[in-house]
């Protein structure tokens, strides 16, 4: 079949044959199947407008419009399959690519994203997100962690401790994600583990987004006195999102153990072969 598929004993991921985008994740152990469309988008960073002079900057995230723009509707894909790895290489644009990967025995889908240098030739600052859209009916709720320990329930356009008058429909719903963000309909849970702190949210039911990179052209007048604009051609950033699909009842044991392995990942030290015997004396 033309559908691109990678799988191991636990997970199967399918990609749309026309666009090359991820379109479905299956947990083979739990017999769970969830349509998941993942793509990269960018918010046009505000430089101040008639509503407010506040620009997006090092301290402030403020997009010009609520709707982000797609980096690309489709990706050029390259399939690699060996006994020890199955991966789909997706190329969205000259400055945005991703490898979706499965190793044997792995109970999560690894998305290694590479973003940058962010082009600013159009004189627009850009804030790049990776967004997962699913059919989960999440009723405005999503969950983010606090330093990898406590999980906090978040409700769109709402604060538990005061009556919120939401003036920033996007930024006002962004929260810090130190290690994970997840959504659930009570039965099925989709969790995304991060390898560093990022901003994240769920701006629509069934949707999760995480900000992976930013490059801005004006200062936000909060004290830095300089736009968040890397020198020269700009930086490119590489990171990983680990996506887990589980039953809501058992999801915590999966993401908690995996997040520990992520934060305390093994370290590699290399040496030429050989070496001389060494003892303290």
């Amino acid at each position: 079949s033309r559908v691109l598929v990678i799988q191991n004993e636990h997970i199967r991921a399918r990609f749309n044959p026309d666009t090359g985008l991820l379109m479905e994740i299956e947990n083979l152990d739990e017999n769970l199947l969830l349509p998941v469309r993942q793509a990269f988008y960018w918010y046009n960073a505000s430089m101040g407008n008639n509503l407010s002079s506040q620009a997006s900057g090092a301290y402030i995230f403020r997009p010009e419009r609520q709707e982000p723009l797609l980096v690309s509707h489709w990706a050029k894909t390259h399939l690699v399959k060996t006994d020890l790895v199955q991966e789909v290489h997706q190329n969205f644009s000259a400055w945005c690519s991703q490898v979706v990967r499965l190793y044997p025995g792995q109970r999560y889908l690894e998305l290694e994203w590479t973003v940058g240098p962010i082009p600013t030739g159009d004189s627009w600052g850009k804030e790049i997100i990776s967004r997962f859209d699913t059919t989960l009916e999440t009723d405005g709720l999503f969950y983010t962690d606090s330093n990898g320990r406590e999980i906090l329930e978040r409700r769109r356009d709402y604060r538990p401790t005061w009556k919120l008058n939401q003036t920033e429909p996007v930024a006002g719903n962004y929260y810090p994600v130190n290690s994970r963000i997840y959504i659930t309909d009570g039965k099925t849970q989709l969790t995304v583990l991060t390898d560093r702190s990022q901003g994240g949210s769920s701006l629509g039911d069934g949707s999760i987004e995480l900000m992976v990179h930013r490059r801005l052209l004006v200062d936000d007048a909060r004290g830095v006195g300089e736009p968040l604009l890397e020198e020269g051609s700009g930086l490119w950033v590489r990171g990983r999102h680990l996506v887990l699909l589980d039953k809501a009842r058992t999801a915590a044991s999966g993401h908690r153990l995996q997040a520990e392995k992520e934060v305390l990942a093994p370290q590699v030290v290399l040496a030429r072969g050989g070496g001389v015997p060494y003892c303290l004396k």
């Binding site: 044959p17 090359g20 090092a58 390259h78 690699v80 520990e260 040496a271 072969g273 003892c279």
Partner: protein, 168 residues
């Protein structure tokens, strides 16, 4: 002798919210990076001494900081090398090791000298090669795997040709 104090000092300085969240001018951010990079050195000496003492063998240990972009001159050029994997978790882990190599076939042996399955895959976007093998590392411990290049053989390319989607 090694020293972890400079890295502790750098990490202490980088508790400032500017270092944590990037709310500083570029030259300050560059200086944070400089402090970290300068303090890695003495810490790597400390780690090398500890590994020599714990493994009973003194080696020129090498730390490759760019493994995430498949750059490591030692593994890309050496005909044989050793890979020490340290596991900071309080439980045993199985972990896929991925190292940049040259286009050859490699033999990987575990700490008992048993050959373990390995693959060399071509990284499509850069045409470099990565060596993969699964390592088992004890809780709060380390395992040493040895890698040897098999002369005269080149890996089977499993890659299929790039599939170009119908352009929108």
């Amino acid at each position: 002798s090694g020293d972890s104090a400079p890295l502790k000092e750098a990490m202490a300085v980088l508790q400032h919210h500017d270092a944590v969240s990037g709310t500083s001018r570029q030259h300050v951010a560059n200086d944070y990076a400089r402090q970290l990079a300068e303090s890695w050195g003495p810490c790597e000496v400390l780690l090398s001494n500890a590994l020599a003492q714990l493994s009973g063998s003194k080696k020129d240990f090498v730390f490759c900081h760019k493994l995430n972009i498949s750059v490591c001159p030692l593994t890309q050029n050496a005909e044989k090398f050793q890979v020490t994997i340290y596991n900071p978790l309080g439980r045993k882990v199985d972990w896929m090791v991925r190292l940049p190599v040259s286009e050859h076939v490699y033999l990987v042996k575990d700490p008992n000298g048993t050959v373990v399955p390995s693959d060399v895959v071509t990284v499509p976007s850069s045409d470099s090669q990565d060596l993969l093998f699964s390592a088992s590392v004890p809780a709060l411990g380390f395992s040493i795997y040895s890698v040897t290049r098999v002369p005269g053989q080149s890996p089977q390319a499993y890659d299929r040709h790039p599939r170009s989607q119908k352009p929108w």
